[in-house]
Symmetry: C2
Subunit: 256 residues, 2 copies
DNA sequence: ATGTCTTTGTGAACGCGTGCACAAAGATGG
DNA sequence: CCATCTTTGTGCACGCGTTCACAAAGACAT
């Protein structure tokens, strides 16, 4: 019960695959750097290297946007910057509210990467009345009571949640009710949102845990005496049966 | 040239798919919450709802770890918490260094989600000599000069980069040279690392740009009067020739 | 012991994303 | 105008991840 939409059903936005959309900002960044160095054109090979991807993938990605390259030459940097910006919707202004001005919220408010793209911090919001009026990154913090008013007055459609986990769902509900349809969630919780609302989450703890997994694996393999780079990758199905008892058996540390 | 490893070649760690590994922390969090409420067992359906995923996917994920459930009953919460923790390598202590103690670095240092898992902040490092000795989150900041010594003394294998983009690669190189083999990168740059080093990146700006794309799409579809879900998706190859000049021409909005 | 009922574990089908490899397009030089 | 050379755009095949749907496994009641 209560299986509210949580994952975007991958509606396959236009023709553009989600994986490609996720890479466009990467290309844009590399292109912007080239633009600042006044480089007129760039080949798929060069740009791919700068963005850290495969050149074939890059060309396929661009092919979804249209035929913007010139065979034998490459891509016009300025033109491509514009096309990608337009595709991502960065040619317009996106007012954003940040809710929860703790350490992380303040860091976000100060982050320069927002303004340089089309993003503008419309308001900083915190539940602590003591914070009200205190300027962070040159913007006075406002109390949660003002949330609905701000969103409606400024036509905010993107909200950033940087509150503790306990408050996140409640904040999310209020944001959505007030008209926000895209949410960037930094709180370590699964947010429940109605259909049509996009949620992306950034979870520091999860990223570290994934790294720990790989780290452990490296250590384990090393201990196994396998010094070479690429170990017998495929077909390793056996369980670490040497570890503890057989399947059903419970290792030392156990439930009460 | 210099196409150093940047993406993990999906070495397919053990039998466990990368996608599954990425979800394990999610399950772990949901299970921990249940554990705190002293819930003894949980069905795949319930747990899947709590973690915001499909129940079939969850069962398949768990099947990679082994047969830890009981048919007709579900999964033993405590047991599963242990198994996942062990699989992720959280039963051991992971010392972590955070480099770049600006707003974001400070936020990370204060983030509680680390300690609760097996992660311990071994050191905070900043290039600014004025920061040296100043305590952040109860830990005195140390100067970059100490970096190598700290890593070797504490056996640090995970590093977090929260520096400006310009310094990231240099910091990365030093971390790797000193023995770090997993890096969590918050700087908006593509990091170049040798084989065997894992990099995960968290990019605030990119996440917002992806949201903007979907937001623009929603707005566009609404304006097109297309209330239905799936618009004529495929086969849109024509350029927006009505927009501006031909290929080489640069539209109005442009960088300096 | 036997039957019923719940829930897991997984075989199989499908769709998306990736990468190879090459034909077509255009630039450039003679 | 033709030949050559570079680089794009993409058809195709492959592998990973997701989902469905169901048989097998066990709990529980009688």
């Amino acid at each position: 019960m209560a299986t509210g939409r949580t994952h975007r059903p991958a509606t396959r936005s236009r023709g553009i695959p989600e994986a490609t959309v996720a890479r466009l900002p990467l290309y844009l960044r590399a292109l912007t750097a080239l633009s600042e160095r006044s480089v007129p054109t760039v080949s798929s090979e060069e740009l791919a290297a700068a963005a850290g991807v495969n050149s074939a993938k890059l060309r396929k990605d661009f092919s979804y946007l249209g035929s913007y390259g010139t065979r034998g030459v490459g891509y016009d940097v300025e033109y491509l910057v514009y096309q990608i910006s337009r595709e991502l919707g960065l040619t317009q202004d996106w007012p954003v509210v940040i809710v929860g001005i703790g350490n992380l919220g303040a860091a976000l408010a100060n982050y320069g990467g927002f303004a340089s793209r089309g993003f503008r911090v419309a308001a900083l919001i915190d539940a602590d009345p003591g914070m009200a009026g205190k300027p962070v990154a040159g913007i006075p913090v406002q109390h949660t009571d003002e949330l609905e008013k701000i969103i409606q007055d400024d036509g905010v459609s993107i909200g950033v949640i940087a509150t503790p986990a306990g408050a996140a769902q409640q904040v999310c509900d209020r944001l959505v009710a007030a008209g926000v349809t895209s949410i960037l969630n930094f709180a370590p919780t699964v947010l429940n949102v109605p259909e049509g609302v996009d949620v992306r989450k950034v979870d520091l703890s999860i990223e570290l845990q994934i790294l720990a997994f790989h780290e452990q694996r490296k250590a384990g393999e090393e201990a196994a005496g396998d010094a070479g780079a690429v170990p017998p990758v495929a077909a390793r199905k056996q369980q670490p049966a040497t570890d503890q008892g057989p399947d059903g058996d419970v290792p030392a540390v156990m439930p009460a």
